[in-house]
């Protein structure tokens, strides 16, 4: 074992990079050499100080929400509707934002959204479904139903942090005043420290 192996000194010019195997042609820092595969994530801890590379496992899940009113209709009194985790019974709007928000127990990444409305928007009308975080609707992962469209999905990466408030928000446009929303589904990913 050499003095270098023992960590007794770091010779000038030797940058602490690693190779994956003896056949590797390019030494690089550990973070660049470790690649996230299926259901794996990585984080740099203590950035710019005594850094550590944290490996985490991603758990995936999904939520499917149906509207359970007998008539299946959602009428509106205001331009925005908020989908409560407990659904809604009668009357409109679906919920006010305070009733609908979930306080997230941990960081999650939302990865998809699907919306089905039995009532399609007519000419010029839109029905937008968005995630609302801390009272602000987001546009990075949303579905906008337009003329004649009843089923639409979107995929993306939307991070929501622990202790943020999250709910689904519907917004009508173009004079649309009612919809017959049947279900909304969304998928998410949660990083679990290994």
């Amino acid at each position: 074992m050499t003095a270098i192996d023992k960590g007794l000194f770091t010779p000038v010019g030797i940058i602490p990079k690693v190779r994956v195997t003896s056949n590797d042609t390019t030494a690089d820092y550990l973070n660049n050499k470790v690649v996230e595969g299926s259901r794996i994530g990585k984080n740099i801890l203590n950035a710019s100080v005594n850094e550590q590379l944290q490996i985490v496992i991603a758990e995936v899940g999904g939520v499917w929400v149906s509207c359970n009113r007998a008539d299946g209709n959602i009428s509106v009194l205001s331009p925005n509707l908020y989908l409560s985790p407990t659904g809604h019974s009668t009357g409109a709007p679906m919920a006010n934002i305070g009733e609908a928000q979930l306080l997230l127990p941990r960081d999650i990444t939302l990865t998809s959204m699907y919306v089905y409305s039995a009532t399609a928007p007519t000419a010029g009308q839109t029905l937008t479904c968005q995630f609302n975080i801390d009272g602000t609707p987001t546009t990075s992962l949303q579905v906008v139903l337009t003329t004649g469209v009843t089923l639409l999905g979107a995929t993306g990466e939307l991070s929501v942090l622990q202790d943020q408030l999250l709910c689904l928000q519907f917004t009508f446009g173009g004079g649309m005043t009612s919809a017959n929303i049947k279900f909304v589904s969304t998928a998410y990913r949660v990083m679990i420290e290994s």
Binding site: M1, T2, I4, D5, G7, P11, G13, I14, I15, K17, V18, R19, V20, T21, S22, N23, D24, T25, T26, A27, D28, L30, N32, K33, V34, V35, E36, G37, S38, R39, I40, I55, I57, A58
Partner: protein
Amino acid sequence: MATIIDKGIFHPVGAERVRITYTDTLSDFLYEKLVGDGGATITTSVLNPGGNEQLEISAT
């Protein structure tokens, strides 16, 4: 400016290998040091073998 070591002209003994802790008795390449769980849950594989290799970690 890249050093001759960065350029891969020579490799000093012990460089570009890693140890897990200070008490690790053997420095080795990353693929030998970072391992899966021995089953099918967490696996490692080498991307771009023989080139600019990367170690991919996956979970099933």
